[in-house]
Amino acid sequence: MPAPKRAKTSTWATKSGLAQMLKGGVIMDVVNPAEAKIAEEAGAVAVMALERVPSDIRRDGGVARMSDPDMIKGIQAAVSIPVMAKARIGHESEARILEALDVDYIDESEVLTPADDRFHINKHDFKVPFVCGCKDLGEALRRINEGAAMMRTKGEAGTGNIVEAVRHIRTVAEEIAALKGQSEKRLRAAAKEMRVPYELVKLTVKAGRLPVVNFVAGGIATPADAALSMWLGADGVFVGSGIFKAKKPANTAAAIVQATTHWKNASILAEVSAGLGEAMKGIEMRTIPEGERLSKRGW
């Protein structure tokens, strides 16, 4: 039975609130109902339904688009945890379709091929909440200003290499720290430079963090990678190719969940990291030309 008649739905509190409930958890990329079940069984807090994991998108090339609605419905039917799905940057219509499918969150994602080289989706116009990627503070605040209720630092999806994810979360934190204690004049100048309202900058500086939940994404492949993300101040982690490209997906998924909870406890990290077999192979960043980096998409 739906929400009561006089209640207010799709408010900022419900949109940003769902992300708050996901904190300290792991959101896993899945491409079919069977994988979604494995993710749920491992303790994922949500799944991201997509047709191909980022490492396959990278390998196959071509245009990556929103998934087939039938596939998303199949995953929704298979699990009781939230189901997210990806729309292309700026693709309002893909987002409308995902909203009509009653997904729990839309990821306006650079992992798919961008549809608009000037505008991101106006996310305030939607009932369903959005998560977006960022590499730095300005990008994060621009997305939040457009209505994103959750952020994720981008990292470099499909590489199994955490170096970009670390760079991005550190950059956001350092840029917030650098604004701390600055005069109103300086903050106004920073807001102008980042092309966001002064009030949003002020709010962020006062909180000492992004004003919405912020997960780490892009390159997490091991329990230790998840723990490192949490240690750097992430609210939780997205794992894409890292699980189903590992030798033992179910064990790797469960171990990453445990590591995200117990990131401060090195002996538990040692215990859960043992015996997982080979992690996904991974790619060294120097071998990816600038033009092929997914994190460069979006602005």
């Binding site: 303790g43 807090v45 009653d102 445990q258």
Partner: protein, 204 residues
């Protein structure tokens, strides 16, 4: 002169979910909070909060780290326990549609995601029965996120809040309180004050 109680320590289950929001609430109210991830973290705790989050994930983490027994023992010693949303699901003696109960400390049957998916998450005002000694009912602002509903209240428990259409969203059994919404994100301090008062009373 009022008797001075020692300040209680409130544990907040921190395996997953919005435990930081609960800890912030407790600190605002001047109470020491402790993150609970392992059984040892429960030592010396006078009350416990089970936060919002994903109940399936929290359930697995509770079992994996053997937290079920010590939390039940804590309740048996008379420590108050508050569960919000997923936390209320963990407390229930019955979960509709098949899932095994986890802590079985609150005599209710809950249905997960009873209102639907995220688009049916909502905010509303509701009247909550008085929890303190004065017994006064209070209107509270409540946010429900993919929330459960209490579909049945057993003989040992009592409904303490319902929506305008009559659906039950909070129930109490002595010092155990389960609510389907999130005072920790609206900043409504009533249930936290109740928990602290109960924990102080238990301290003597």
């Amino acid at each position: 002169m009022a008797k001075r109680h020692p300040t209680p320590i409130i544990g907040v289950l921190a395996v997953q979910g919005d435990f930081a929001e609960h800890i912030r609430m407790l600190e605002t109210l001047g109470v020491a909070a402790r993150e609970v991830r392992l059984p040892a973290d429960l030592a010396g705790v006078d009350g416990l909060i089970l936060p919002g989050g994903e109940s399936t994930a929290m359930r697995k983490l509770l079992h994996r780290w053997d937290l079920v027994k010590p939390i039940k023992a804590l309740a048996k010693r008379g420590a108050p326990i508050l569960g919000t949303c997923a936390g209320a699901i963990l407390l229930a003696t019955k979960i509709a549609d098949g899932d095994e109960p986890v802590l079985s400390l609150l005599d209710v049957e809950v249905r997960r995601n009873a209102f639907g998916r995220q688009l049916e998450s909502f905010e509303t005002n509701l009247v909550m029965e008085g929890l303190g000694n004065d017994g006064r009912s209070r209107t509270t602002h409540a946010v429900f996120i993919r929330a459960p509903e209490i579909v049945n209240v057993g003989p040992s428990a009592r409904a303490v809040a319902a929506l305008e259409d009559g659906r039950i969203v909070a129930a109490r059994q002595g010092r155990i309180l389960g609510i389907a919404f999130h005072p920790e994100i609206t900043g409504e301090t009533g249930v936290h004050r109740w928990l602290i008062a109960e924990a102080s009373a238990a301290l003597g």
